[in-house]
């Protein structure tokens, strides 16, 4: 228990201490929100879909979480190369506890990041459908965060250096984000994209967030929660397994 706590605390301290990273990782979601939100707003409205800002705000929140969470997981590569991982690996604690502590830490950090993006969207003009449901949104945020921290951990456990980083960016992170319904409605899509989006766990995370925050859900909140929790559970197990196999 103490192991989990101290490693969780470490992730938090690292996050709050690197201000440049904190601010830097807010830049991208904010740019997307403003450029796309206001840029496509008029067309979206003409098409009879209502406010685009209102539509993409949950997607942008999820984006902030996705990036922070994946990178928290991928940080393991750093710790592998720069030694800190060894320090935890030679300690008389189980690898599962190390993995849990780190993953919870990363997920907490990503959730905080999501909340900050959420607050920013309020300033830009996003209006949550119901204030009472905001805490429920935090649950979805945390699940998304947990899912992608575990995914990052799984990926980082298999990689030895940052060489594969571009590969991950272009073939995992970007497709996950763009093919998730973060930026466009999932109704009436071409078959291929609709299928991909259906198998993308982030779609359910964003749909859930949108259902709670903007009051419109495609799959339904129960399905969202179910799929998201299941995917998270699977990835935590896979991540733990791969982490336990790390040899340094």
């Amino acid at each position: 228990m103490n192991t989990i706590y101290i490693l969780w605390l470490r992730q938090l301290k690292r996050y709050f201490r690197s201000r440049s990273r904190l601010v830097g990782s807010l830049g991208q979601p904010l740019l997307f929100l403003i450029a796309l939100g206001f840029g496509f707003g008029p067309i979206f409205e003409k098409a009879g879909e209502g406010s685009y800002l209102q539509f993409i705000a949950p997607g942008i929140i999820a984006m902030g979480i996705l990036f922070t969470a994946l990178f928290s997981g991928i940080e393991i590569i750093w710790d592998k190369q720069f030694g800190f991982l060894k320090e935890t690996m030679v300690a008389p604690v189980s690898r599962l506890n190390i993995m849990i502590g780190r993953t919870l830490g990363g997920a907490t950090v990503a959730t905080v990041q999501g909340i900050i993006v959420f607050v920013l969207t309020l300033f830009v003009g996003f209006k949550p459908a119901s204030i009472a449901l905001v805490p429920v949104a935090f649950v979805y945020m945390f699940l998304i965060a947990l899912l992608f921290t575990a995914l990052g951990t799984a990926i980082a456990s298999m990689l030895d250096d940052m060489q594969g980083f571009q590969l991950i960016m272009n073939f995992v992170v970007m497709p996950t984000f763009f093919l998730s319904g973060a930026l466009f409605p999932l109704q009436g899509l071409p078959e291929a994209i609709a299928i991909v989006a259906k198998f993308n766990p982030l779609s359910y995370g964003i749909d859930g967030l949108r259902g709670v925050l903007a009051g419109a859900s495609h799959f339904g909140l129960h399905i969202d929660l179910l799929v998201l929790s299941a995917a998270t559970g699977i990835l935590v197990v896979v991540g733990s397994y791969l982490f336990s196999k790390i040899e340094i």
Binding site: N2, T3, Y5, I6, L7, R10, K13, R14, R17, S18, S20, W78, Q81, F82, G83, F84, L85, K86, E87, T88, M89, V90, A91, P92, V93, D160, D161, M162, Q163, E247, I248
Partner: protein, 310 residues
């Protein structure tokens, strides 16, 4: 930062120095010389082996990194494990410290088997890795605290020991500084202090003085030797500085191509090879060919790290 040795600054904690300084008494000097000459350790329990390695084999796919290596290290000994790059040193240390699993053979540390008594083995040793393994974004104190928690030390014990050890390595006044602002020598000292926090029986040091200036090297060795003397901690270290091994180690083993090619006191090795220094003996044993180490991914990462960390 101080320039003097511990023995002068903190006399009650570190009252012996192997540097033949004017302040040390005759008896101490004799003692030091005896040790430098590679004689028996102070503790009486000589035949108790704290590290036992029998027929250790480690295979990576088709490469045999360690091939039927056997050796023992006695309790309270300062033991140097020498070898050229890629000889199998690091692999052996990784197996001894439970980071890697052996392909076959038996390895015991402090009486516990590394394959089925991992946690007991882990509690028995402290380690200073070749590369710093501190968290740069945490303060010195936080690094110590994290270690203490990982090793399950109770809060009061933990806090007392942290203060004690950080004072010994003269970092207590820098305890709230982030480790990334520390020099190489300071990081090493902190790592040594950290490695001792859980009171290990064996301290593994993988090239502990790599890249340090002579002042810091002396400083660190006099501290380690003193620790060995006063606490009876067994020291197992690797180094590429042969004169360092000759001066400090009571016994050495030389590994090459995964096989132990020589072992004994530095004196014995020199006598066997018929040369004057351990370095010559080492070269005679392992040949003069330069071992090319392929750049590891770690080296590549280090190159990019500065760009990334901004």
């Amino acid at each position: 930062m101080s320039t003097g040795f511990y023995c002068e600054r903190v006399p009650n904690l570190l009252h012996l120095s192997c540097e033949p300084s004017r302040s040390s008494s005759m008896a101490e000097q004799r003692f030091c010389k005896a040790k430098v000459g590679g004689s028996t350790p102070l503790s009486g329990s000589m035949n108790e082996q704290i590290i036992e390695v029998k027929e250790l084999v480690k295979r990576f796919d088709d490469l045999v990194a360690v091939n039927k290596v056997s050796f023992e290290v006695a309790k309270g000994e300062i033991f140097a494990f020498l070898g050229p790059n890629g000889a199998g040193k690091s692999t052996t240390i990784k197996i001894l410290t439970t980071l890697l699993r052996a392909t076959s053979g038996e390895v015991r540390v402090n009486g516990f088997n590394v394959s089925d008594g991992q946690d007991e083995v882990r509690r028995s040793f402290g380690i200073v890795f070749q590369d710093p393994s501190l968290d740069d974004e945490l303060t010195a104190w936080e690094n110590m605290e994290l270690h203490g928690v990982l090793y399950g030390l109770q809060k009061i014990t933990r806090r007392t020991r942290i203060e004690e050890l950080m004072k010994i390595v003269e970092l207590w006044d820098r305890k709230d500084d982030l480790v990334k602002n520390f020099s190489g020598g300071m990081k090493r000292r902190l790592e040594i202090a950290r490695g001792l926090l859980h009171h290990p029986k064996v301290l593994f040091l993988d090239e502990p003085t790599l890249g340090l200036d002579p002042q810091t090297r002396n400083h660190i060795w006099s501290y380690i030797q003193n620790l060995n003397r006063t606490e009876g901690i067994t020291i197992f270290f690797t180094t590429h500085y042969m004169e360092e091994a000759e001066r400090v180690a009571q016994r050495v083993a030389v590994i090459d191509h995964g096989v132990i090619v020589a072992r004994g006191t530095p004196e014995e090795l020199k006598a066997q090879a018929g040369v004057a220094t351990l370095e010559d003996a080492f070269l005679k044993l392992t040949g003069k060919t330069i071992r090319d180490n392929e750049a590891t991914s770690a080296d590549n990462m280090r190159m990019h790290s500065r760009v990334w960390r901004r």
